[in-house]
Amino acid sequence: MYENEFLNVYAAKVVEYLLAIAYLVLFVGFWRWVQGEKAPGSTGPRPARRS
């Protein structure tokens, strides 16, 4: 039974976009984690400036 290949595109697009959105959400946290930011604190190699 041959499926209509054209109709498959919609399911594929859902996966692509959900994946991209999930990535964007994860990216924010990942970026901060790699930069070594814990809280409003250090950003990179500079020592945290607190008064």
Binding site: F6, V9, Y10, K13, V14, V28, S51
Partner: protein
């Protein structure tokens, strides 16, 4: 009630009493706006009461006309200055361009609202536009355009709220928003890239209907690159106009607009030069060199030589020799070229091989003109009241001391104002100010 009245007088009437305000409205510019609206608004109403057949010259073979080609497509590309300068300043760190970011964001925001109103006027059943959220036709380039325009208009609204909150004096909201600016700027570039290119992708589905010199599998790249060129050029034009017209709204030192324009000219020269060769690549890829010798070929060459290569050279010469006049001339030609390109793709070179050609009706032209006029009037209204040409000094925060610079309370300069002020979002800034 007195308090509300005085807020209204200060914020809306710019400090005048009712009668003086009304008298102040009698300017030649305002009369022109009023005249255009007097004709245009009834036409818009008529479009909605009588339908598309009565007001447009769209047909079964020409489903898209001026409102799509100009209001939507040209409107969106000319609003590209927002994301380009936002990225330049906030991501690439070119802080000297800070003074033109806010006017650019406002122009972009109003430009997108214009494009959306233009679209709503063109849609057969505009109330069904919400269906795009409910049902996802994700195989469609128009679906991508719709979503990314929705997302980006939201981003623009948020970016516009920054000066709006300063105007309203809402500090807490302002600080919260400030913290999101980096993320908003990144999103603005992401969404803009997607929909500026998707507007070109719209035509991928109709290869036989668009003339081969304009149709290319890479049309979406052409649209994106030309969007950057359009953004840069509109920034130059804006710098010339708004910094002159709204000079009275600039607090603190006046930015060296000419110097900034020379810098923009340099960028414009490079982008347009690359775009010119990209278009030639499109011809090469399609192996359409022979078509350059036809009538349509001449029109195509006019577009890319006269309105892409020439402004590139004007920009380059102006930037190299410090002659701002050339840069400004280049901007005008470049903007006309972008408009020409969008109109070519959507209505002129579209259906090029049909015997009769679409010409917009006078009502279509009037509606488009009216929407642009409303946008310009809105820009004026906002720029005259909100901190667009300058940022509100009371919202600036001293990084080391954590309090607003004292001098700015009286509207005088603090030493920081002369070099771009650093704005911080220290929680301490809110306390006691």
């Amino acid at each position: 009630m007195a308090r509300g009245e005085s807020w209204f007088r200060e914020k809306i009437l710019m400090g005048m009493d009712g009668r003086s305000y009304l008298r102040s409205l009698l300017t030649p510019f305002n009369l022109l706006v009023a005249a255009i609206l007097a004709v245009g608004v009834p036409v818009i109403v008529y479009r909605f009461t009588s339908g598309l057949a009565a007001t447009t010259r769209l047909s079964q073979v020409q489903p898209w006309g001026l409102w799509i080609g100009f209001d939507m497509m040209t409107g969106i590309v000319l609003a590209a200055g927002g994301f380009t300068i936002g990225a330049a300043v906030h991501l690439f760190g070119m802080h000297e361009y800070r003074p033109i970011v806010r006017p650019a964001i406002l122009t972009a925001f109003l430009g997108y609202l214009l494009a959306v109103f233009g679209l709503l006027t063109d849609l057969g059943k505009p109330w069904n536009i919400v269906m795009a959220i409910r049902y996802q036709g994700s195989a469609s380039a128009l679906f991508e355009v719709a979503w990314c325009v929705m997302m980006y208009t939201t981003v623009l609204l948020l970016e516009f709220l920054l000066p709006a909150f300063e105007w309203l004096g809402w500090r807490r909201a302002h600080e919260t928003l400030m913290r999101s600016m980096l993320g908003l700027t990144v999103l603005s570039v992401v969404f803009s890239t997607m929909h500026q290119s998707a507007l070109g992708s719209l035509f991928l589905i109709a290869p036989a209907k668009l003339h081969p010199l304009w149709y290319s599998p890479y049309i979406f790249i052409f649209f994106f690159v030309s969007a950057i060129a359009a953004g840069v050029s509109m920034l130059v034009l804006e710098g010339t106009l708004s910094h002159r017209i709204f000079r009275h709204r600039i607090t603190g030192s006046e930015p060296d607009v000419e110097k900034l324009q020379l810098g923009l000219g340099k960028a414009g020269a490079i982008v347009l030069f690359a775009y010119f060769f990209l278009k030639l690549q499109g011809v090469a890829e399609g192996r359409h060199w022979d078509l350059l010798f036809t009538g349509w070929g001449a029109w195509f060459l006019l577009e890319i030589v006269g309105f892409v290569l020439v402004p590139s050279l004007l920009y380059g010469y102006g930037a190299r020799h410090g002659k701002v006049g050339f840069v400004r001339a280049g901007a005008i030609v470049a903007v006309l070229g972008i408009v020409l390109n969008r109109l070519n793709v959507s209505i002129i070179a579209y259906n090029w091989n049909r015997p009769d050609h679409y010409v917009p009706s006078w009502m279509e032209v009037v509606v488009s003109l009216t929407l642009v006029t409303m946008g310009v009037a809105a820009f004026r209204w906002i720029a005259n009241r909100m901190p667009i040409l300058s940022e509100d000094a009371r919202f600036a925060v001293e990084p080391d001391e954590g309090r607003a610079p004292e001098k700015d309370r009286a509207g005088l300069l603090s030493p920081l104002t002369e070099r771009d002020r650093e704005e911080r979002t220290l929680p301490r800034a809110a306390a006691g100010r």
